[in-house]
């Protein structure tokens, strides 16, 4: 510690015989002992402080004032529950916020379209390599075709079974096999993949989640028995919903 720092510490220090100096002050005192000018300044300060201390100590609160203040303190009401208390309002707001967040987590998030499925849809739409093979079969009859290609669990919802699939492929997206079927006459693609790696769960079972992907495409997704089935269709959400509700002739 240099003299300048020691001076700054000592100026703010008021010696009290009942309180031991802090280690910093002890260091500053040591520096003051080695510096004649600082020692002289500090000794002058001690003289002034001695007088100030004595002056302050001599100010005695009159007993009647002390009694009066004591009575006022005793009359301060103990804090009771008051719903208009700002602290209570803050607690209430915090509690409501917590409930909102929890509700969003338990109800809102599951109701949202799963982000993993959205990512798969975008990948399928922008897949550069097109390893599709012509199949020209009703969508429902492609299960065996996919099994032969190494993909288990391709299952088409009943209302889409009769749509004619023109070609099909198994794509690898994030190292997960994704079964894709194109249904050109309906401007649609059917996609099937395992829900487990993506932790997708949709309830109630067999219900659809919808999303307008962009201005051209709408998505529908359902999950059943560990498999997700997604429909990408050109058009808006209303058209997609109508497409899924009506059965083909």
């Amino acid at each position: 510690m240099n003299v300048r720092n020691a001076r700054r510490h000592l100026v703010c220090y008021v010696a009290d015989p009942n309180v031991a100096p802090s280690p910093t002050v002890l260091k500053a005192l040591k520096v003051a002992n080695e510096s004649a000018s600082l020692r002289s300044e500090y000794e002058a300060q001690l003289e002034i402080d001695k007088k100030v201390r004595s002056t302050i100590k001599d100010i005695r609160i009159p007993e009647e004032v002390l009694n009066s203040l004591g009575a006022r303190v005793a009359a301060i009401p103990t804090r009771r529950f008051n719903p208009r208390d700002p602290a209570m309002i803050a607690v209430l707001i915090g509690f409501l916020l917590l409930i909102t967040v929890l509700t969003w987590n338990f109800l809102g998030r599951p109701a949202a379209f799963p982000s993993d499925a959205l990512g798969i849809a975008e990948e399928v739409l922008t897949f550069d390599e097109r390893p599709f093979e012509a199949v020209n079969l009703p969508a429902a009859s492609l299960e065996d075709w996919f099994v032969l290609k190494g993909f288990d669990g391709f299952d088409v919802p009943p209302q889409l079974e009769k749509y004619k699939a023109e070609d099909a492929a198994i794509l690898k997206i994030d190292n997960q096999p994704i079964a894709v079927v194109t249904v050109p006459d309906q401007y649609a693609q059917f996609i099937s993949f395992s829900s487990k790696p993506h932790e997708i769960s949709i309830s109630p079972k067999g219900s659809w989640r919808y999303l307008q992907l962009d201005t051209e495409n709408a998505l529908a997704l359902r999950e059943e028995d560990g498999m997700c089935f997604m429909v990408i269709r050109r058009g808006d959400l209303a058209e997609l919903k109508s497409f899924l509700e009506k059965a083909p002739n």
Binding site: E63, L69, D85
Partner: protein, 136 residues
């Protein structure tokens, strides 16, 4: 019979001493401390005794200029007290609070509305003014 203040309000006697130095009058000091106590008693947002004490002293510092001024020194105050009273603020409060030993230096700076780094110069100037102040 002497009234004992509850532990969390024992600082009131120090607050009164501080108010005497601020106002130069026992009567005005009593009024200032009483009015500050009335205001802070309703402040349920002040939690913790140390915080309450700091807010109390800061309120005394802030409100003391609004208190009525004494034209003539009170006969029951010593010359030494009046010397302290005649010091300029915020040095007067900084020096007094340093001597009271109730707050660390950073909180004293906070109470008197100064930065902690400005306190050493302020205290040097105040001590110098104290030795130079003629007796009233």
């Amino acid at each position: 019979m002497m009234t004992h203040l509850p532990k969390e309000w024992r600082f009131l006697s120090d607050a009164w001493s501080y108010a005497v130095i601020l106002t130069g009058s026992q009567q005005i000091a009593t009024e200032l401390v009483t009015s500050t106590l009335r205001v802070l008693a309703d402040r349920h947002d002040i939690l913790g005794n140390k915080h309450r004490r700091r807010v109390f002293f800061a309120t005394l510092f802030r409100e003391s200029p609004k208190a009525p001024r004494v034209d003539l020194p009170e006969s029951n105050l010593s010359d030494d007290i009046l010397k302290l009273h005649n010091l300029p603020e915020p040095g007067r409060s900084a020096l007094t609070l340093c001597h009271m030993g109730l707050f660390p230096i950073d909180q004293i700076a906070d109470i008197v509305g100064k930065h902690e780094k400005d306190l050493p110069e302020l205290l040097v100037a105040t001590r110098a003014a104290l030795t130079a102040t003629p007796k009233p």
